[in-house]
């Protein structure tokens, strides 16, 4: 088939997909109007299905533009969410939160399982410099930007100097966080392998731990600046230490169990992954361990302490793709568009500043570490995304400081919205430019039939 014919066929396919999406959307629209709130759970099921179909189709439609699938999932979620078309209401978005639990489990397992100890060791110098420079630069510069742009931030205008500095430090600590989910989402789609992909993955996974420690430290330190009656306490560090070491210990055990299962049984991994995602996550939450870290360590152990890593990643990718579509579509639907509209000037400045500092810090760290030109040029591209982890930490801050917490979180949500949309596009662009992306997976209908 000629290029023009293929392009024409592609356009026809996209047009038919768009028409079908409109039909399904009309059905949901009709349901939302004619059967209001009578069967909440059934609306959730239809909403789940629609997000799955819409995310998959929109991701295919944006692919010719060079945009990642993840952007398609987010766009589908935003468009069908409560603030735009209203096909998926807020109740549905909240009710689908268990999908997030499962997705985060799979993301962390895959993230850990993609980390090869040998390549981490080889890139240890790069990673160490990058973590040091990025953390210091982003923390300091974004804190400064927050103070500088306080006139655009309603709640910051009235804060006394001490409190303003405290809030700026909190902002700086949150700005250091990255998005493991976006990183894994892009890597899962592009199946990229190479220095930029490996560096980004290792950096983002390690920064998860650094951010948790940094936020806990800043939280403990700035309390007295905001509330003069408060005193510095080491209690939170004891809890944090317990959480981190406990998570590593449980993750190690879990990783060994998974490796043994893969070696001895190696069947029905879909059910096993579901059990891990729902059952083990619940137990970890009950025991107050960090599930993201636990699963990441488990994946890392499977990869590096057994020869089951490749197989394990393949299983996760098979299960994960469907889950990721809904996970990111929910994230899109959950995006507070009116809030973004009201806070966009401040959010835009803060996001742009963060991206610029990330870019500069990446180049500086790469020079200090003597990295390859490719890493020097594109190493920053995967570090702009922010998502669930940042939002989770902002919720913690909002709870700790109710006086400004809600407004602070609103600004975080607006900023994350921008980073969530722009970051994956930049990462995909960087991977494409370095030539690390590669051909896709087995396709329907040429897939092999399931084994008997």
């Amino acid at each position: 088939m000629s290029g023009a014919a293929a392009a024409s066929k592609g356009r026809a396919t996209h047009a038919s997909h768009a028409a079908l999406l409109a039909v399904f959307g009309t059905l949901l629209f009709f349901l939302a109007r004619k059967v209001p709130e009578a069967h909440g759970a059934m609306g959730v099921i239809a909403g789940f299905g629609f997000l799955l179909v819409a995310g998959t189709l929109v991701s295919e439609m944006v692919a010719p533009l060079g945009l990642p699938h993840l952007t398609g999932y987010l766009v589908a979620g935003i468009a069908s969410g409560p603030h735009v078309l209203g096909l998926v209401d807020e109740h549905t978005v909240k009710s689908l939160s268990p999908v997030n639990t499962l997705a985060l489990c799979l993301i962390a397992l895959a993230g850990g399982a993609e980390l090869d100890l040998a390549s981490v060791r080889r890139g240890a110098r790069s990673l160490a410099w990058a973590q040091l420079v990025q953390t210091t630069a982003v923390f300091g510069a974004l804190g400064g930007t927050f103070i500088a742009s306080r006139s655009l931030i309603p709640f910051a205008r009235t804060l006394p100097v001490g409190a303003l500095i405290a809030v700026a430090l909190l902002w700086g600590s949150l700005a250091v966080s990255r998005s493991p989910s976006a990183t894994l989402g892009i890597l899962s789609q592009t199946r990229a392998t190479g220095p930029v992909a490996s560096f980004t993955l290792a950096f983002v996974m390690a920064s998860d731990v650094i951010v948790v420690v940094l936020v806990a430290t800043v939280l403990g330190s700035v309390r007295s600046l905001i509330d003069p009656a408060a005193s510095f306490s080491l209690g939170s560090f004891t809890t944090l230490g317990h959480e981190l070491f406990g998570s590593v210990a449980i993750g190690t055990t879990l990783g060994l169990v998974i490796a043994a299962y893969l070696r001895l049984v190696n069947r029905q991994m879909l059910v096993v992954l579901l059990a891990l995602g729902f059952g083990v996550s619940t137990v970890l939450e009950y025991l107050r361990f960090d599930s993201l870290l636990t699963f990441m360590v488990a994946g890392f152990i499977v990869r590096n302490m057994s020869n089951q890593g490749g197989k394990f990643v393949e299983y996760i990718e098979q299960t994960g793709t469907v889950v990721y579509v809904v996970f990111f579509a929910i994230a899109g639907a959950d995006l507070d568009v009116p809030l973004l509209r009201s806070l966009w000037p401040a959010a835009l400045i803060l996001s742009a500043a963060r991206a610029a500092v990330t870019w500069g810090a990446s180049r500086a760290a790469a020079r200090l570490a003597g990295d390859s030109p490719m890493l020097l040029r594109w190493g920053w591209s995967g570090l702009v995304s922010q998502a669930g982890l940042t939002l989770g930490l902002s919720l913690l801050i909002a709870r700790e400081f109710p006086s400004f917490g809600t407004a602070f979180r609103a600004l975080v949500i607006a900023t994350v919205a921008i980073n969530e949309m722009v970051g994956p596009v930049l990462f995909k662009f960087g991977l494409d430019r370095t030539g690390e992306t590669r051909a896709g997976s087995q396709s329907f209908p040429s897939m092999r039939p399931p084994s008997p």
Partner: protein, 408 residues
């Protein structure tokens, strides 16, 4: 038992179910109808040990709807096919006739018994009860024939014919469910339509969704995306139909049927979805069992007895029709129809959707009768089928066959 533990238990069941599908080594384990999982559910449920309470069951209602919808979707994809082969037109007609005669006889017997024992406050309730039980008892489970054929290595024209019949009798009961659901539209739906329009809407929605799925599957997709689209379309159908008070089973069945008929990749779709049936079925049966209420009404024992006897008689009659139309069936003897007495997944699924849609005496009675009918079928159907195939010379009489047969 809280929701997480129940979810884990269901995952364990699903895990076991997937082994039953995939493992040749596991052949010989379990019953074709899966009625033992319903029994386990009853034991764990609120009316026995109460380990799975009523509130937990209510919380899992959406999961049940999804499981039932997905099973019906798989059934629709597979309708008219026995394994890789297309079912012959003659078998399709005989299977549909069989479902009509069996369902009709059971419904009539139930209606007469219900009226005799003053069941229900209104005529509509009696019609729903009779129709629901008729629809639930009309089918022959595909698993029973397949299991006997596989366990005993049966080969021959009669085994093929019976297998085809078991694959061709689902259409009518599912359409009947759509009609019955239309008798009492959900009050929350702000749409007024004549009674005759609701079944058409049910079938139309399923066909539209299936056609959509077929259209989506035309293009070259990653396997994961194909799964996403198929599952997504099925979920839209399940959610939308349940919300409108339509039969999720019927909508999903017709969606699967339309996708299978209209897609160029029907064979691949069937190969994709078939292995998921058993892992989804077992948890659904457990939850169905947990809902069983043997005290649903005073008339229940009589209604159950009437329905089961009517079903047995109807199947014997159908056997004669099969023997008249297909010469190999004549070798199976005068009671060849009893070979088709096994019911299971679809039967209990219909019982369960009735219990969910019409909570109370009507729904609970339909569910109990569906499970009892499957239990009786389990004792009679496979044994009779084995004997029929042996009489037809399609199973070799081996010294160990009696022992292995006792397990069936």
């Amino acid at each position: 038992m809280n929701a997480v533990w129940l979810l884990m238990a269901l995952l364990v069941l699903s895990y076991l179910g997937s082994f039953l599908v995939a493992g040749r080594s596991a052949r010989g384990v379990g019953l074709p109808s899966g009625v033992e999982y319903a029994a386990l559910g009853f034991v764990l449920g609120p009316r026995a040990l109460d380990l799975v309470g009523s509130e937990t069951l209510a919380a899992f209602e959406p999961v049940v709807q999804v499981a039932l919808g997905w099973l019906a979707f798989a059934l629709g994809l597979d309708f008219g096919f026995a394994g890789e082969r297309r079912v012959r037109g003659e078998s399709l007609a005989l299977g549909t006739l069989g479902a009509l005669v069996t369902g009709g006889a059971v419904a009539a017997a139930t209606w007469i018994t219900a009226r005799r024992f003053h069941f229900g406050a209104t005529g509509t309730e009696r019609v729903l009860l009779a129709g629901g039980i008729g629809a639930a008892c009309a089918e022959t489970t595909r698993y029973a024939v397949r299991w006997v054929v596989e366990r005993h290595g049966a080969r021959g024209p009669l085994a093929d014919r019976l297998n085809e019949l078991a694959h061709a009798d689902d259409l009518l009961p599912l359409f009947a469910v759509a009609v019955l659901f239309a008798l009492e539209p959900t009050r929350s739906v702000a749409v007024q339509a004549p009674l005759r329009d609701w079944p058409a809407l049910t079938v139309g929605m399923g066909a539209l969704l299936g056609a959509g799925a077929a259209l989506l599957m035309r293009s070259e997709l990653r396997t994961e995306d194909a799964w996403g689209l198929l599952f997504g379309v099925a979920l839209i159908g399940i959610g939308a139909s349940a919300r409108l008070g339509l039969s999720t089973l019927t909508v999903s069945f017709f969606a699967g049927l339309a996708a299978s008929v209209l897609s160029r990749h029907g064979r691949e779709l069937r190969a994709m979805v078939a292995p998921t049936e058993r892992p989804v079925l077992l948890p659904a049966l457990l939850l169905a069992g947990a809902r069983l209420d043997f005290r649903a009404s005073d008339a229940l024992p009589w209604i159950a007895a009437a329905a089961i006897v009517a079903r047995i008689v109807a199947k014997v009659v159908i056997g004669w029709a099969v023997a008249a139309a297909a010469p190999p069936a004549r070798k199976g003897g005068v009671l060849v129809g009893l070979s088709l007495l096994s019911s299971g997944a679809l039967s209990m699924s219909i019982g369960l959707v009735f219990a969910l849609r019409f909570p109370g005496a009507v729904g609970d009675t339909v569910l109990v009768v569906a499970v009892l009918s499957a239990t009786v079928g389990e004792f009679v159907g496979p044994v009779r089928l084995r004997r029929t195939l042996r009489m037809a010379g399609e199973i070799e009489a081996a010294p160990g066959s009696a022992a292995s047969g006792a397990r069936t």
